[in-house]
Symmetry: C2
Subunit: 239 residues, 2 copies
């Protein structure tokens, strides 16, 4: 919530007065050819109008006309484990914040405080994604831009989230499996291959790629900062 202080209105009145009185002074001088009249009119005007301007300004603060609420959107980053979606979402969130937008990055790491962890069965994963989706839509509804990075391998829960959000932008981080598995920063693929993790998308269950993503990016082919730049440029049309 933004409140415009009286100090702002005062300073604005002063800057306006400088522009305006100089114009009046010049006009009167040109039309009357009399410098003293120009100074007198300009001087008196300066005082009177400064006050009028201030009250005009304060009145307009109460008028809602032409104050447009910018509709936020939910950027949903889906992709395999290790595809780079978390770092990409983080970078996009940071870039959006630079436009003075309220942005929240929802990710497995920071969501645990709010939502319970679940296991990897299709039902539990879908359940978790639907809860995250509810949270995202709640934030969106209150004017917060959301960048959500979740593996979210199953179409039905992603489609559910699309339904409940107002402006849902699905970003498919399509880094190939071989690349994700070769990097395997957290060693999860190795564990999944050994059967220590069950239902691991790309290993023993399928990752279901989005059928109509709004944006596709392969982070084995593109730098994260470049990808983030392009996504933000794409999103700017919604602002």
């Amino acid at each position: 919530m933004i409140k415009e202080t009286k100090a702002r209105s005062v300073l604005k009145s002063v800057t306006w007065r400088i522009c305006a009185t100089l114009t009046t002074f010049t006009l009167v001088w040109i039309f009357t050819g009399k410098l003293d009249t120009a100074i007198m009119v300009g001087g008196l005007e300066a005082f009177i109008k400064m006050a009028i301007y201030f009250f005009h300004e304060r009145l307009w603060i109460k008028i809602k006309f032409g104050k447009k609420e910018i509709e936020p959107f939910v950027l949903w980053f889906t992709g395999l484990s290790g595809s780079g979606k978390t770092r990409l979402a983080e970078e996009v969130a940071q870039r959006l914040e630079k436009f003075s937008l309220k942005v929240d990055h929802l990710d497995g790491k920071n969501i645990r405080k709010v939502l319970h962890d679940t296991d990897y069965t299709r039902m539990s994963v879908n359940d978790h994604i639907m809860r995250v989706g509810h949270l995202a839509s709640k934030l969106e509804d209150k004017g917060v831009f959301v960048a959500a990075s979740f593996l979210s391998p199953y179409r039905e829960s992603r489609d559910f989230v699309r339904e409940i959000c107002t402006n849902f932008i699905e970003i498919y981080v399509a880094t190939p499996l071989e690349f994700c598995e070769r990097e395997d920063i957290r060693g999860l693929y190795a564990k999944a291959r050994k059967g220590e993790i069950k239902n691991f998308p790309g290993v023993d269950v399928d990752y279901e790629p989005p059928e109509h993503p709004d944006w596709v990016v392969d982070l084995s082919q593109k730098e994260i900062s470049d990808a983030a730049y392009e996504i933000v440029r794409h999103c700017k049309k919604y602002l």
Copy 2:
């Protein structure tokens, strides 16, 4: 997020011009005694300054000086089952919304979509309240005013929520047990007395009243609308 449209700046320029040109016209007329000069200066001024005003206005939209962010707060309503806290919180939330604030009412009923239900053991209840608290603080952090109505019988979890929120206002809905139990709208007290519900605050476990609440209200003594009015009046000092 609020964006000021060009249409707003145009209309504002016009209303200002009416105030301002009338002043200039009157001043020039008084000082020169010539109606034609007054009309000429006033007329030319109207055109030139309308444009200058518009650009002055658009420039100021980019200036952040004096735009004060209103800090939201979390109103936490705690009290026995049937004490009226949900209806009170709802009424307070509605009244706050009238000040063009973004408000969210968190309550058992609407939180289930986001958070898992838990049982009534002290640990589960505390766990649940802490998760709700995290959600409340997340919303507060993003500029949303929160009215949260939860039985929240245990001091440690309420104190935890107080810690993680920036502006936490604890409202103790101190409607007496006898009154709550006599009404027993949802039949929960009857079930608890029969032992069908365990760990029911006020029946087989204690409700721990706040030691330093910010506001106390007994809804067996006061109408909800009056109580809501007083709470909102109390909160207005934070706006």
